[in-house]
């Protein structure tokens, strides 16, 4: 008896080790092989986490499940949709069905790489009918849209610039700038205006010409923000006086009692909701996209809670004016924003990104 | 400048100190006491130590002997009283400025320095010139029979060798006094004997004043000129070693230092000015003057003064062996006796070859105390 016990322990350990090894090696292959069998048939949506995920769950996923009986599971992957999806695709193990409001540049990149699938033609045209022409791309529709706009701390500046050229005129409008540090694509449309392009025809532009204003404004920039919290804190804590802000964040500051002026001049920054190529639940994914387009009241509720704009004109009409006024798709706001050119951006991505990065971080 | 001159004593910074000033004590402790909050660790000790004397400060743990030493060394500030070294008040000087040498139980040799560099350390701190340092180190190593080990690191030495290095290091700069804190505590018995002889020799040859703290009465006995017996923070006794051993002034001294049996007795008579006491119904002549007749006293009898089968029935007690330890040349017995009104256990030490030695626990024996060896001691034992 006693001798068997002493050999039992090493055996158990060996089994444990082998199991670990086997599961670590085998799991991608096993899951990747069983195509179409997502996690128990639930639709998997990749989202931004935190309040964003909660709001999508409450106003989109839950009513969708209620109507269709399709279960939804939301996973958080903030800022890493493209990279995660790319590695899933390389491993042959796609786990997601829907991507919730990806950044536009990332969305076009994923489309270019074939990671997200094009909408069927009939679906696309019906979406355009419902949402309007500029709101639908080959692969999805815009969602969680916002503006990169001018925001000023009224206690720190005498006058708040109303246009981008004014913002870049540091003599006429002195003050320490708070600038986006990593939003390269969004900045192209802003910088093009600073370089003298009109709002309605800002891009494409010669890259070196576009970078000039950035180089000039650097000396007056005290903060290059890389997160929404940081941009809010920078104005609140007095690290800077005025800046290019995400519109929702600028209104957040005003809501907490700061004297903040928001001027709708800058760039329009859409997000894209889309279906993943080779998604485990393809049909359900398309059903979800259709459902969101068909439910402006769900979009309106979502927008009111998140302060991000939604594509449906009906949704904007459903919202109280004081809320609609703060959203990027509100016509008066939309007019002041320059459109990004994502195809041009992706073509010149490395030149644009590293050009901006070198100015911002190159010392 | 003034402030420096006002200091009670200036540390000598270079060269060996001059010869001790004549007529002053090497060490004088005046009403020295230390309290930690309400706890008194040392209560008003007065002591004067002659130049070249070796004083053993003996006591059980918690008796205050270590605190006393720490105050002399300068690691504890006295709560009251003063410390004079060579007639100068050093009570408020830092240890570095007291010109003392110290040897401790764990040697405290610098592990990263060779033996020679260890010995040199105090000289370097005193900024002796390099040549004099080298000469002095060589001399100290020679005198401590360490010359061959000068380049070794402490961890390459035996415990006894390490302690010799520690002694050499402490003596190198001719300190005013030497403090030894249980210096043999970490050594085994054989090495201990060697080191005892070594310290004895050092004391003789260097003529250094030594305060030697120990809990081991045999070390104190072998080495000391005088013994200070500490108990509960007080000096329980202070006497030349032989006198303390043979004529302990108190029951505690008799028990702790002389290892004597403390036997309850009653004074029944006087013979030539000395008391005759009754123990267990038998009488015994003591070496002490009389107490009032009839009073209960404590008689101290050392184990070697117990005899088996005394020829005179008048002072023979009946007892039973309760423990027997073979010690080589001698055998230690514990003998329990009881009588109508008294009972007790005495310890006795007998030659291993003594006739009639009981062979086993449980044997009945007749025993008695050698006349004129018992002392009546003031009963300062705690009540048990």
């Amino acid at each position: 008896m006693s001798t068997t016990r002493t050999t039992l322990i090493p055996c158990a350990a060996a089994v444990a080790a082998l199991t670990l090894l086997a599961s670590a090696c085998a799991s991608p292959a096993a899951d990747g092989g069983g195509a179409g069998s997502g996690s128990d048939g639930a639709l998997v949506i990749a989202s931004w986490g935190g309040r964003f995920t909660e709001t999508t769950q409450k106003h989109l996923a839950d009513p969708f499940t209620e109507e269709t009986g399709i279960q939804v599971q939301i996973v958080d992957s903030p800022g890493t949709f493209a990279t995660k999806l790319q590695s899933m695709s390389e491993a042959g193990n796609i786990e997601w069905d829907i991507i919730d409001s990806s950044g536009a540049a990332d969305a076009f990149f994923m489309a270019q790489e074939g990671l997200v699938q094009d909408l069927p033609a009939d679906m696309r045209s019906s979406f355009e009918d419902a949402l309007g022409e500029g709101k639908v791309s080959d692969f999805g529709f815009t969602y969680a849209n916002l503006g990169y706009v001018i925001a000023c701390n009224d206690e720190a500046v005498d006058a708040c610039p109303t246009t981008i050229p004014e913002f870049f005129d540091t003599d006429a409008f002195p003050g320490r700038r708070i600038m986006p540090g990593e939003a390269y694509s969004q900045m192209t449309a802003v910088l093009a205006q600073a370089a003298g392009r009109p709002v309605d025809d800002a891009l494409p532009i010669d890259v070196p010409e576009m970078l000039e204003p950035l180089r000039d404004i650097k000396a007056d920039t005290s903060v290059w923000w890389t997160s929404g919290d940081q941009m809010e804190q920078s104005l609140r804590q007095g690290e800077g006086d005025l800046g290019i802000f995400m519109s929702g964040r600028a209104y957040n500051l005003a809501e907490t009692g700061m004297d903040v002026t928001v001027n709708w001049a800058g760039s329009y920054d859409p997000g894209y909701t889309m279906a993943v190529t080779d998604a485990p639940n393809q049909e359900e994914a398309m059903q979800f996209l259709q459902w969101v387009v068909d439910h402006p009241e769900a979009q309106a509720a979502w927008a009111e809670e998140m302060q991000y704009s939604v594509p449906s004109p009906d949704a904007l009409d459903l919202l109280p004016t004081e809320v609609a006024e703060t959203l990027a798709d509100y016509p008066a706001n939309f007019e002041g924003l320059a459109q990004q050119d994502f195809e041009w951006y992706l073509e010149n991505k490395s030149e644009i990104d590293s050009g901006m990065q070198q100015i911002i971080q190159g010392g | 400048m003034n402030t420096i001159e006002e200091r009670p004593q200036q540390a000598s910074t270079a060269g060996p100190p001059t010869a001790p000033p004549a007529g002053r004590h090497a060490v004088e402790l005046i009403g020295l006491g230390k309290s930690y909050g309400p706890e008194t660790a040392v209560a008003g000790v007065d002591l004067a130590v002659e130049h070249g004397e070796l004083i053993a400060i003996l006591g059980a743990s918690g008796s205050g002997k270590s605190t006393l030493l720490k105050m002399v060394a300068g690691f504890e500030g006295p709560s009251r009283g003063r410390i004079l070294l060579h007639g100068q008040d050093v009570s408020s000087l830092s240890p570095a400025d007291r010109e003392i040498g110290m040897v401790v139980q764990n040697y405290a040799l610098f592990p990263h320095l060779s033996v020679a560099r260890n010995v040199e350390y105090g000289l370097r701190m005193r900024k002796w010139p390099k040549r004099e340092r080298a000469e002095r180190v060589a001399e100290m190593l020679e005198r401590m029979r360490l010359s061959a080990l000068g380049d070794r690191l402490p961890r390459q030495l035996s415990g006894g060798q390490q302690q010799r290095v520690a002694i050499a290091r402490a003596l190198a700069y001719s300190p005013r006094i030497m403090l030894m804190d249980e210096p043999l505590g970490a050594l085994d018995k054989a090495l201990k004997q060697d080191l005892v002889e070594e310290i004895h020799r050092v004391h003789r040859e260097f003529a250094t004043t030594i305060l030697y703290v120990t809990h081991d009465r045999e070390e104190a006995m072998t080495l000391a000129d005088r013994v200070v017996l500490m108990r509960d923070g007080r000096m329980a006794a202070c006497a030349p070693v032989e006198e303390l051993y043979l004529r302990p002034p108190t029951a505690y001294a008799a028990g702790f230092f002389s290892g004597a049996n403390l036997v309850p007795a009653r004074v029944v008579d006087r013979v030539e000015g000395r008391a005759r006491v009754e123990i267990g119904g038998r009488t015994l002549d003591t070496t002490c003057p009389v107490d009032p007749l009839g009073s209960p006293v404590t008689a101290a009898v050392r184990p070697v003064c117990v005899v088996l089968d005394p020829p005179d029935d008048a002072w023979a007690l009946e007892g039973e062996v309760t423990d027997r330890l073979f010690l080589g040349d001698s055998v230690q017995l514990k003998l329990a006796y009881s009588d109508a009104d008294t009972s007790g256990v005495v310890s006795c030490l007998l030659p291993a070859t003594a006739p009639g030695l009981p062979g086993a626990v449980g044997e009945k024996v007749r025993f008695g105390f050698t006349p004129d060896t018992a002392r009546i001691v003031p009963d300062d034992q705690e009540t048990r």
Binding site: S2, T6, I9, P10, A13, A14, A16, A17, L20, L21, A24, G79, T80, A82, T83, Q86, G181, E182, Y184, S222, V223, W224, W225, T226, Q230, Q233, Q237, G238, E239, K349, D353, S354, Q357, Q358, Q361, G362 | A11, A73, G74, F75, S94, P95, A96, D97, I100, G101, M102, V104, N106, A108, F110, P111, H112, Y121, G122, M125, R126, R169, A170, Y173
Partner: protein
């Protein structure tokens, strides 16, 4: 003979070999197997993969030289190394004072206070810690309010998004590591050596210089290496307190992966950081000497 036959073996576990405190080699290896597998899978494999990725496609050598020629990564690399060196010195100096006081003080309340102070950064999340420092250093923050209240400065100092803020933040996070590493070295310094040196005539500074310093030198070097290593991998603190003005390599690698989608470039940056870290640590350990390491093992 009869008695021999009647002797029965005692009941109990039968052992073929004499008993030893450690398990036998086979049992030990098998018990360690899950961990070994995990290390190969999650440590060794990714490390090798970094170099494989950096060398895949294109001109591999150029990818490594790019790290030094691209102004962004060159500056980030320099910032990472110099700031981390500063962090190592500051943290070890502060940690040494705390650890030494912990070792030598006789006062219980001092020990409790210092342990608490030293370990509090452990109990706070990275974000909380950095956010607290962010608020402390902000233009409208308490530190600037104090400086202006005292009349030291007229307008708020720009403390955020500076080298100072980054070094401060990382040092605060790493202080517990320094204190623990140094304390484990300092406790090996027998306090009786200090009192002996004092009796032998050494002042406080001399005790530190002639006794303590030589004994703890190796341990201090190892602590410096440890803090430096931990510091060069920092991401959150440099980005929160240093912004993009003083980026660390981790920020740049993150941008390479998540903004530029340049995986081989990111791998090359990581590989170079890894090699530099290895060289620095190897140098410091060589300085510390095998003796110290053997003592620590």
């Amino acid at each position: 003979m009869a008695t021999v036959e009647t002797v029965r073996p005692a009941k109990g576990r039968v052992r073929a070999r004499p008993w030893r405190p450690e398990a036998g080699p086979v049992t030990g290896l098998l018990l360690a197997a899950p961990m070994l597998v995990a290390i190969v899978l999650f440590v060794a494999f990714p490390l090798v993969q970094v170099f494989v990725d950096a060398s895949s496609g294109g001109v591999p050598v150029q990818r490594y030289t790019d790290v030094f020629t691209n102004p962004v990564s060159r500056r980030a690399l320099a910032t990472t190394l110099t700031d981390s060196a500063l962090v190592a010195v500051v943290t070890v100096a502060l940690g040494a004072v705390i650890a030494w006081t912990l070792h030598t003080t006789a006062r219980r309340w001092v020990r409790v206070l210092l342990w608490t102070t030293a370990l509090v950064p452990f109990w706070m999340g990275m974000i909380i810690k950095n956010y607290a420092i962010y608020l402390l250093l902000a233009a409208n923050g308490p530190l600037n309010a104090l400086l202006m209240g005292l009349g030291v400065v007229d307008s708020p100092l720009s403390l955020l998004y500076t080298k100072f803020a980054v070094v401060y933040g990382i040092s605060y996070s790493l202080l517990p590591y320094a204190v623990l590493a140094l304390y484990s070295v300092f406790v090996q310094v027998d306090r009786s050596l200090l009192s002996s040196a004092a009796v032998l005539g050494a002042g406080r500074a001399q005790v530190l210089a002639t006794v303590v310093a030589p004994l703890v030198r190796g341990g201090v070097l190892v602590a410096l290496a440890l803090i430096f290593l931990l510091s060069i991998g920092f991401y959150v603190t440099p980005i929160m307190l240093g912004g993009l003005q003083t980026p660390f390599m981790a920020t740049v690698i993150n941008q390479q992966v998540f903004s530029l989608y340049d995986f081989p470039g990111a791998a090359a940056s990581a590989a170079i950081l890894l090699v530099i870290a290895f060289v620095v640590v190897a140098t410091i350990l060589a300085l510390a000497g095998g003796k110290t390491l053997r003592r620590m093992l």
